[in-house]
């Protein structure tokens, strides 16, 4: 890893340079909640001033730029009594600015599923390879528990990663692509003073991480509490709406449907993100449902996040952003559910 520092005004110039020829997606303030807290989303920007890097957490995660809610997997054109299949997976190069560590960790976890296993997904790969990631440190977001999952610190998965050290940014460079972009503005070597300021900045952030969730023994705990009444308690609140999976940066499950064009000359195979909390998730032909109740489905979501995925990929799938908890109308959130599980097995 290479480390440099740049001035804040040079960072602004850098964004303008990138914008000249490429698309940039960055956090933008899109509204306010009734209590006055701002609402942010990752959206395309036209100018530096449109982005708000001083955000705590976007409502939706940046997942949508890699696993869009809906995408066309292939197109069929009918004719001559047969069909032709067309598959496209192109992505115009672009940059996402301002991703926080947890969201970059989420991409690294998705990489494990989408790229590292059998059948790597070319659709995902095209988006991933053509997206420059410029991440950024930030103050804890308030409800997240990333520190408990170790996703508040990052060692790879970005092109550039910035930490605010006063009048300058401390920049970690993790790719040649990132270095070439950064080299458009004057770079300074890291001085002793920069280093001290960086360490202080990181320590200040860590100090503010106060939410603790005990996740270390969760896989076993989840096995042992599989039939616990805790699931009934939380499951009976669940609306089976699937909002938690939509906002989650790591939930990737989906369904596939065919859409036939009105003129019957073509059809497309459309992928749409799904949620294991939706009632038909594990329903099969003949009507049998492997997870018939809300309890089953909610439990499965936690089980997959913290147990199933952990066994398959040696780490939990959850990055602790608590977007699911923030968005859930029924107030279901990982810290409370996990605390209840702990109570079950003192």
């Amino acid at each position: 890893m290479l480390y440099k520092t740049i001035t804040k005004s040079d960072f602004e110039h850098l964004i303008d340079f990138i914008l000249e020829q490429n698309e940039i997606i960055a956090p933008r303030k899109v509204g306010e909640k009734p209590d006055g807290t701002p609402i942010h989303q990752f959206l395309p920007i036209e100018a530096f001033s449109e982005m708000d890097l001083d955000y705590s957490k976007t409502e939706y995660s940046a997942k949508t730029y890699f696993l869009p809610f809906r995408e066309n997997l292939s197109t069929w054109s009918f004719g001559d009594g047969g069909w032709k299949q067309d598959i496209q997976y192109r992505q115009k190069p672009r940059a996402i600015i301002g991703l926080h560590a947890c969201d970059i960790h989420a991409l690294l976890k998705l990489d494990k599923v989408m790229l590292k296993g059998p059948f790597p997904s070319p659709y995902y790969k095209a988006r991933r390879e053509n997206t420059v990631i410029i991440g950024m440190d930030h103050e804890p977001c308030g409800s997240g528990f990333c520190a408990s999952l170790g996703t508040d610190i990052l060692t790879h998965g970005f092109d550039l990663f910035l930490t605010d050290i006063g009048d300058r940014y401390f920049v970690a460079v993790d790719s040649d692509r990132g270095f070439r972009i950064l080299s458009q503005v004057p770079l300074a070597e890291v001085t002793d003073e920069d280093r001290r300021r960086y360490v202080r900045a990181r320590a200040a952030i860590s100090e503010k991480q106060t939410i603790k969730v005990h996740t270390r023994n969760l896989p076993t705990l989840l096995d042992l509490t599989f039939n616990s009444a805790v699931w009934e308690k939380w499951g009976s609140k669940c609306l089976s709406c699937g909002a938690c999976a939509m906002v989650c940066p790591t939930c990737y499950c989906y369904g596939v449907k065919e859409r036939v064009c009105m003129d019957l000359a073509s059809a497309s195979k459309v992928k749409q993100l799904h949620s294991c909390n939706l009632v038909d998730f594990a329903e099969v032909a003949g009507g049998h449902n492997f997870r018939p109740t809300r309890e089953h489905r909610l439990k499965y979501r936690y089980y997959h996040q913290h147990r199933g995925f952990a066994e398959a990929y040696d780490e939990p799938m959850c990055v602790g952003c608590n977007r699911c908890g923030d968005t859930c109308l029924a107030g279901i959130n990982p810290p409370d559910v996990i605390a209840d599980l702990e109570q079950e097995n003192p």
Binding site: F17, I18, E20, Q21, N22, L73, S74, W76, F78, G82, W83, Q85, I87, Y89, K92, P93, R94, A95, V113, G117, P118, F119, S121, P122, K125, A126, E129, N130, R177, R180, I181, Q184, D223, F226, Y252, C253, Y254, V256, E258, V260, A267, K269, H274, C276, F281, A282, E283, V284, A285, G286, F290, R291, Y300, Y303, H304, R307, G308, A310, E311, A312
Partner: protein, 302 residues
């Protein structure tokens, strides 16, 4: 000064030193490329089940198509959808395959109306297979309940094509009524040509039925087996294989030596959509064939 982010073409790339050709004709064949195939014949088995003889159209693709007994394909009907179906034929026939399909919903219904000559798409093959190689030299119990005979036919073909490599081979088959019995035209062949011990039982006999009546586990009563030397393949609904495997365990067969095939909803076959998840595994990648030990150790598997 300006920056242009380089475009990266997924169609041409090198990963870990190996050239990966993500063109539609190579790797994508396993991802979203669909083999075009023709239904060459349809056989009415029962009111709800038909056997489809299928031939991959492209001669090269047909020749390259290779599967292991127990694997499944995604049958693709452009405009309608795709469904996972176990291959129910001998793997020595490459791209000539047979699928036994029950009419169960949208896609299977359209399939049942397809006439010989119709074109369908295939993706795959996907999933794990029965370890027939490991079973060489051993006695093999092949046990099916209901539609379970469809996936079981692939290992039956494999083993009967190599009888010399195996010990005693037994096929036990149970169905609800005599009308539900599938592949009745093959029973003579299995018995007379291949000298396989075939035993059949139904739960609800009709006037014409002269055979055994009862649950499939009844066929195991009194059977002499050498538990240390016997492998079992059990295909059928979960209630069925649960009882059968419990009985086999009592008879002394190790759980690792019993294999079952699980069925779950599937939308990709490639470990991406998560719909087939059981505990910590994907049924489409780590299954559908599991040894019984793995099955009872996954939450929600049965």
């Amino acid at each position: 000064m300006s920056v242009r982010i380089h475009s990266y073409d997924v169609n041409r790339e090198f990963t870990m030193g190996h050239p990966v050709d993500y063109t539609r004709r190579s790797d994508l064949q396993n991802v979203d490329h669909v083999f075009k195939a023709e239904i060459t014949n349809t056989v009415n088995l029962t009111e709800h089940e038909k056997l489809f003889h299928i031939r991959i159209l492209d001669p090269t693709e047909r020749d390259r198509f290779h599967f292991h007994p127990g694997q499944f394909v995604m049958v693709v009907l452009p405009g309608y959808g795709e469904v996972p179906i176990s291959i129910s034929s001998s793997n020595s026939q490459r791209g000539h395959i047979e699928l036994c399909i029950r009419k169960a919903g949208l896609v299977t219904d359209v399939l049942h109306r397809a006439a010989p000559g119709s074109h369908i798409g295939l993706r795959g093959p996907f999933g794990t297979s029965f370890p027939v190689e490991r079973m060489r030299g051993k006695d093999v119990l092949l046990i099916a309940g209901g539609l379970g005979i469809a996936p079981l036919r692939a290992p039956i073909f494999y083993i009967t094509e190599r009888l010399g490599d195996y010990g005693k081979v037994s096929i036990l088959y149970g169905a609800r009524t005599p009308k539900d019995l599938l592949f009745d035209y093959q029973y003579e062949a299995w018995r007379r040509i291949y000298n396989v011990h075939l035993d059949i039982i139904v739960q609800e006999p009709d006037e014409t039925w002269t055979g055994k009546v009862g649950m499939i586990t009844a066929l195991l009563e009194g059977m002499e087996i050498d538990p240390d030397n016997t492998f079992a393949i059990v295909c059928g609904p979960p209630v069925m294989f649960k009882f059968v495997c419990a009985r086999l365990q009592e008879m002394g067969i190790a759980m690792q030596n019993m294999f079952v095939s699980l069925e779950r909803r599937m939308h990709c076959g490639m470990g991406k959509c998560c719909r087939c998840n059981v505990g910590s595994t994907y049924t489409c990648l780590d299954g559908p064939v599991f040894d019984y030990w793995s099955v009872i150790n996954q939450k929600e598997a049965i």
